[in-house]
Subunit: 210 residues, 2 copies
Amino acid sequence: MLSELQEAFGFLFEKELIDEIASTGTLKKVSAGEKIIEIGDYVTGMPLLISGAIKILREDDDGDELLLYFLERGDTCAMTLNCCLGQTRSEIRAVAESDTTFVMVPISKMEEWTGKYKSWRNFVFESYHSRLSEMLETIDALAFLNMDQRLMRYLRDKAKINGDENIQSTHQQIAYDLHTSRVVISRLLKKLELDGRISLQRNQIKVIDL
Amino acid sequence: MLSELQEAFGFLFEKELIDEIASTGTLKKVSAGEKIIEIGDYVTGMPLLISGAIKILREDDDGDELLLYFLERGDTCAMTLNCCLGQTRSEIRAVAESDTTFVMVPISKMEEWTGKYKSWRNFVFESYHSRLSEMLETIDALAFLNMDQRLMRYLRDKAKINGDENIQSTHQQIAYDLHTSRVVISRLLKKLELDGRISLQRNQIKVIDL
DNA sequence: TAGGTACTGTAACACTTGTTACTGTGTAAG
DNA sequence: CTTACACAGTAACAAGTGTTACAGTACCTA
């Protein structure tokens, strides 16, 4: 675990802190599509992402979903952070976007490290900063963009996060993430294909020019 | 200034920190409607709200606006916080919702206090927590609510923040905040009036039952 | 008091998105 | 091979929201 932590967080944290993380945290591996945390769960720890990607989803009372943002290597979940400090339950769902490895740090260490390590404080602030920015972007998209533009943004992000221009996904799954219906996504995707911006196969979308 | 700080933040900060804030910060008073910070401005300090209320707005490239949330006494602006730490420009606009008093703290003190005062750290974290929650609510509203429900939520919030069931506002101003058109707001307000939930006068909306 | 301006009400229409329904096709299991 | 099922394409329509246009009314100022 130490070497993986060193690789992903070495440039952020001093040796001493890395050692503390390694000795108190537990390494977890999850497969693509696996649920990591559910809305309403008590938050027991804070995940530090070593490899892979996680998508963070919001859900309303009717069970309707919306993708908030993706987390990548070196990220942590500010919403979780939030819950740790507030001792509240999770407001979001986290699902592995790809096969993912992360270190789970017990919340009891949070407060201690915040006082002890400046690098940890900066990391926590930086995480809040990133997450607020992502939320702002999500709000911009919802408020100012039409569905076709939101779809393009989504496809770009998805291709980038997975490092693959071929997106493995069904229209229905995209519809869930963007909180719309399958028919709408099929319609818009077909239009994008006619415009030569993507190409469509069953269960797969190839990004050409977005 | 000391007494006002004591009143608004005394239950949060130790005496020593209050004194530091009083000696390094500057007291500002702005009238309702006055702009406090503009998108793209460099952030020179962090505002601690003593009285009144501030509304935080987002704007896209076309100049279209969207209300993000309100700040009240005892709050600070996490977006500003964000900018201070990141040394970036403001991503939002802040406008006085009512006559407002606040203390502006120079950003240079931020880092110092974060290491020195646990109460300050907690305040900063708590601020991030609150703002993330507000952003989540904003996202929920955008993604899951229709315009009529968003309007009701807006009227409720506005009445609460101003402590007055009579809202002084034109339909056009509401339309800006919700990023829609005046006609749409007029239409929905009229419907709410017919349902007996509000009553309408020129430049004023009285909340009856929302 | 007259004229101008800001605000509100309303109709008619356009556009985007959501819904329903049905068809066809690729894929896996029996 | 064939049956079943998940996935995708498409049309027709419904609903919500945005746009344009115009009329009426309150309010301010000359």
